[in-house]
Amino acid sequence: MSDALAQVFARTRSEGRAALIGYLPAGFPTAEQSVEIIRAMAEGGVDIVEVGLPYSDPLMDGPDIQSAVELALRGGTTTDTVLDVVRQVSESGITAVVMTYWNPIERYGVDRFAQRLLEAGGHGVITPDLTPEEAEPWITATASRGLDRIFLVAPSSSDSRIGQVAAVTSGFLYAASTMGVTGARTQVSSAAPELVRRAREQTDLPVCVGLGVSTGPQAAEVAGYADGVIVGSAFVRRILQAETPAEARDQVRALASELAGGVRAAQ
């Protein structure tokens, strides 16, 4: 396990709160702006950033993230761009992981990707469409480099399946709060607390909840039972609606700060 993620969760636990995790696709709206926006996220209070690797067929993503990654790809974003964004934000002292569909890693070369990510200062990878059954080369490549492997569980996962997924996961376990795709929702799914409770019976890993969280009160609610709160589409939507790069950064910083207040307000 990477020390960096462990340290973040040790710190947030000692502060009696959940971690705040923010997602942004690299190259959205441009490579340079995505670095600046991630820095604004961190200034607002995000503890860990997920740097998204834009992919042509994002079948787990809703309309906001689809638009963002299409824009990033049209702008020429590649896997090397993503690694460079990771390098720049890591140099700013931000704890970064990559979130990506599997094919770009396989195409880049599993070992090569893990090595370059390590060199860029990244700490792990979230792989939403990689199942433990298909993950053997990935487990080898990451374990030998101390990179964290973050797999997902869902409300439909059986207890034994959660155990199976957790057994190959390190860093934290990503609990998808709802059966569905990414996107802000007016209510966080009622399935989430139950999923987190079941996950805790199977693993001592930190359990973080994503999908559908977009406001301070929602973050507070999730922080009441999870070790981390993951927010993606809500950031992306603010950037899509912003008129200027400066406004995008301000909006992101403001949302991060609202969410950071939320994870500290949890009961």
Binding site: Y55, S56, D57, P58, L59, M60, G62, Q66, E70, L73, T78, T79, W102, N103, P104, I105, E106, R107, Y108, P128, D129, L130, T131, E133, E134, F151, L152, V153, A154, P155, S156, S157, S158, R161, V165, A176, M179, G180, V181
Partner: protein, 407 residues
């Protein structure tokens, strides 16, 4: 060749499951329901009865006498899947999956469709079995296959035009997956070809094996021997695997698949996965994918909506690598020439997808010579393609007929 060394759900290094965890439980449930159905005689009996009384099976094997003359004199037989109810092979798979949907207690089916044949078949089975039905179709395809959109709506299905990405079959699959992950507790995704996460490739193949079983019996009756070659067009590859399956263990039978060459492989505007693609992961399975150096899916192109897909079923990838099957591109112009030829020599209007297989048979027949026996899977009829063909051949105007008349 053998698949015995492949782990479950795999074909050599291909296949497997690359899906969001939310779908794992549903895929496990589907696999269990399918495996239980395979050993339940009542399932097989019900499906066979539907095939006989509803689909109209067995489909005939037609000797194409005049068309054969254009194929180097080889004797070409057409496996007439175009005569199935709904006009293509797609109904074979859909009836099987609809019965499984009922066994799993689900009330709703969704499907993706390119040419619209799979969407029509799914809408048909949904009507027959009283299931709700939503079909995702790329917006570009809803335009080039407007007739099939109307057919689906007449059958009571909701048709959702997909405006994301390239607005074709690939994007329709993405959207169907997004629906499925959200509604999986009451919805079954009737995937229309032999790709996607396990168990789809194995299951869809099973429901199409009837094509090969019948063809084998029929050719032995009329020719007293096995064919020299079996031929089919390959988009995802379900009609092809259905025909091929009965002959894979007969090494003397050549197995040929024809993928869409579009404007020509050299132009980059095509759907020739084997000619230009490389192993990768798309839509839940590892297979040959048209992708750039970063693993981004490349847009495909074909005059035929049903072949316009940048991936291919994982079993075809394995058949390709092992050399048991050979895959070649057929470009738009060559396919349309075969389309026209079959219309005029046999009185059969094939689907443009199917015309790629016919063009392949012409090529192969000339190579094998007059003693050869070739079976082509006539996977679908071409009513849906009449406007595309009329435009291609410049027949759309209402004026006097100035074309050359009968050959």
């Amino acid at each position: 060749m053998t698949l015995l060394d492949s782990p479950a759900g795999h074909f050599g290094p291909y296949g497997g499951r690359f899906v969001p965890e939310a779908l794992t439980a549903a895929l496990d449930e589907l696999e269990a329901a399918f495996d239980a159905a395979l050993v339940d005689p009542s399932f097989g009996l019900e499906l066979t009865e539907l095939e006989r009384t509803y689909t109209g099976r067995p489909s005939p094997l037609t000797f194409a006498r005049r068309f054969s003359a254009e194929c180097g004199g080889a004797r070409v037989y057409l496996k007439r899947e175009d005569l199935n109810h709904t006009g293509s092979h797609k109904i074979n798979n859909v009836l099987g999956q609809a019965l499984l949907t009922r066994r799993m207690g689900k009330q709703r089916v969704i499907a993706e469709t390119g040419a619209g044949q799979h969407g029509v078949a799914t809408a048909t089975a949904a009507a027959l079995m009283g299931l709700e039905c939503t079909v995702y179709m790329g917006e570009e395809d809803t335009r080039r296959q407007a007739l099939n959109v109307a057919r689906m709506r007449l059958l009571g299905a909701e048709v959702v035009p997909v405006t994301a990405g390239s607005r074709t079959l690939k994007d329709a699959i993405n959207e169907a997956m997004r629906d499925w992950v959200t509604t999986v507790d009451r919805t079954h995704y009737v995937l229309g070809t032999v790709t996607g996460p396990a168990p789809f490739p194995r299951m869809v193949r099973h429901f199409h094996e009837v094509i090969g079983r019948e063809a084998r019996t029929q050719i032995l009756e009329v020719e007293g021997r096995l064919p020299d070659a079996v031929v089919a067009c390959v988009g995802g590859g379900s009609n092809a695997i259905g025909l091929f399956s009965a002959f894979l263990d007969d090494p003397e039978v050549l197995v040929r698949g024809y993928e869409a060459g579009g404007d020509g492989v050299e132009t980059g505007r095509h759907a020739s996965r084997f000619a230009t693609g490389s192993p990768g992961v798309l839509h839940g399975t590892r297979t040959y994918v048209m992708q750039d150096e970063w693993g981004q899916t490349m847009p495909s192109h074909s005059i035929s909506a049903g072949l316009d897909y940048p991936g291919v079923g994982p079993e075809h990838a394995w058949l390709h690598d092992t050399g048991r099957a050979v895959y070649e591109p057929v470009n738009d112009a060559e396919a349309m020439a075969a389309f026209e030829l079959l219309c005029r020599t046999e009185g059969i209007i094939p689907a443009i997808e199917t015309a790629h297989g016919l063009a392949g048979a012409m090529r192969l027949g000339r190579e094998l010579g007059p003693d050869a026996v070739i079976i082509v899977n006539l996977s679908g009829r071409g009513d849906k393609d009449v406007s595309t063909a009329a435009e291609w051949f410049g027949l759309a105007s209402a004026g006097a007929d100035s074309s050359g008349g009968r050959t």
